[in-house]
Point group: C2
Chain length 337, copies 2
Amino acid sequence: VHRSTAARALNPATSGMLAPATVKLVQAAAESLQYTANAFARGLRTQHSMTIGLLLPDLNNPLFPPIVRGIESALLPHGYTALIANTDNDPERELMHFHALLSRQVDGFIIATARNDDAVLDEAYERDLAVALVNRSDEHHHFPLVSGDDRSGIRAAVDHLYDLGHRRIAHLAGPLGVSSATVRESAFREAIRARGIRPRAAPVLACEGFTEAGGADAAAALLDAHPGITAIVASNDLIALGAIRILRTLGLACPQDISVTGFNDMRFADAVTPALTTVRVDHHLLGKEVAQLLLEQLRDRSGVAKALLLPVYLVTRESTAPPRELRRGIRSRGPAR
Amino acid sequence: VHRSTAARALNPATSGMLAPATVKLVQAAAESLQYTANAFARGLRTQHSMTIGLLLPDLNNPLFPPIVRGIESALLPHGYTALIANTDNDPERELMHFHALLSRQVDGFIIATARNDDAVLDEAYERDLAVALVNRSDEHHHFPLVSGDDRSGIRAAVDHLYDLGHRRIAHLAGPLGVSSATVRESAFREAIRARGIRPRAAPVLACEGFTEAGGADAAAALLDAHPGITAIVASNDLIALGAIRILRTLGLACPQDISVTGFNDMRFADAVTPALTTVRVDHHLLGKEVAQLLLEQLRDRSGVAKALLLPVYLVTRESTAPPRELRRGIRSRGPAR
DNA sequence: ATGAAAGCGCTAACAC
DNA sequence: GTGTTAGCGCTTTCAT
């Protein structure tokens, strides 16, 4: 039996045009010879690799594994595989990985790195590649995109603190020039204004990175410059954790002295001390949806770019409480326990 | 200028045989045309893909991201890339991914899935593939392997509890048939025997999975059957976390009523409440070393298989303390605070 | 120092 | 229903 007949037998799409007996025969032979088709030869011929490139800042950020798994779960049924590259927020590494993925003939990109100005996005736009963005925004290119509704998440955090009685609320923003940091910071200022708090009672400080270390350093500087604040809205959970840690070394307790909110409700946000009040984002879903968006584009490049904002909601745990002055008030009025 | 000349100019290994002027010319042209070599065509011709397949149980287990990053950091300088596949501990999914990676012409495999009997290992052995194992053992095939020294880690945990005064110590083992679970369980029994504790004072119960849920269920069953135990050695951190959680719902405090140790010192093991006493393993290093082992094999298949056991050490935090009876004793003897 | 030509393993258009 | 053939883009041996 001829090679092309064999190929047809092994391909479910074409095995219909063959005699069932031939198909059986070939499949049996393939099995016994442990035959596996060469994806390179196939890709060379068909001009698609059935792989997509995934650009991430860092797999060690607990935010990303569920996104990756969500992406895979949506790609797998369609026969696509993701190639993962970590950029560590380094534009050079990102560009390097982008080109490496391009040379591997990926059919499209999912990009989760978050710099506002990104040479990779520019080049992808210029080359007219299939791209979908996740967990970030994009002012310039209007790529399809799915992200949590950061604005309403931050507003919910600010409102929660306000309702507890806080009036001097600070924001520990993410690093400068990073999309989600920018959005959350602007949402913070907006929410503060909406509650009638004067900007000088709501200081904003940017962290070096979306990390515990970044949060710790910035929180130390913040408390030094603004000792009067009673609550902190952190731009993500890691920053919140870092802030809480430094609070402790400064002899301040969370939430008794200072309330802190996080963002993402990452894994273990409920297991740390104090359990984090934070904004829950369904990262697995984020991944599934962005993969769907990319698959749509791979099917038909003519569609218009959708921007999905998935709903988020505040999860209230132990890291937020009424400010000390109010708590004293309550205690002096009520009976001792 | 001819295609083969162009190819030579772009390849650093062959550009030496060309006139420097030609090289410059070609490189400039490649740049301006945004040329990227087609990895498929190259792979088809050279018969190697410069990729390796990485089989993991689940990227969501915080243990694996640092291993992955360690692997990548060692592969990148050699031009190799890892293709990651999650098996969710499902033998069928694992076999499926194994074959998919094979068809993508990976040059070798790093396997971090942990079932003792694994069809993938058998087939890889039979096909004489380049394989290196990480964070698991292997009785049958003698593949090169790097893992933490689980035996001495478990022994350190048991000794620590013994030294605190515990004499009825239970083990929450990992799932049946999983390599690291088996090793740790046998190490536990050995350590218990070495300390002269009778086996009936040291019950062992296997969890459904290396998960919080698995740990919670098994801990509930354990405390039901053996209410007298004062300490638990968990087979990993997630099991420990699940156990501590169920303790709380049963009205027991950790470490006051029951001490618990984990294994891995995964991220946030120090941030949870109580901060986990656990065995630290350097997972990034684990990844780097296993990648090195695979690269060695890719260079020369004739070498003998090494098995590296990286040192581990106990990190004492808040989840372990002397048993209640001793603590009472201490308290009644000492002055009240 | 450069050009020519073959072939890696597959698919798809075409022939019979 | 099955065989024939060309060619995807690269590397590499050989020729000049």
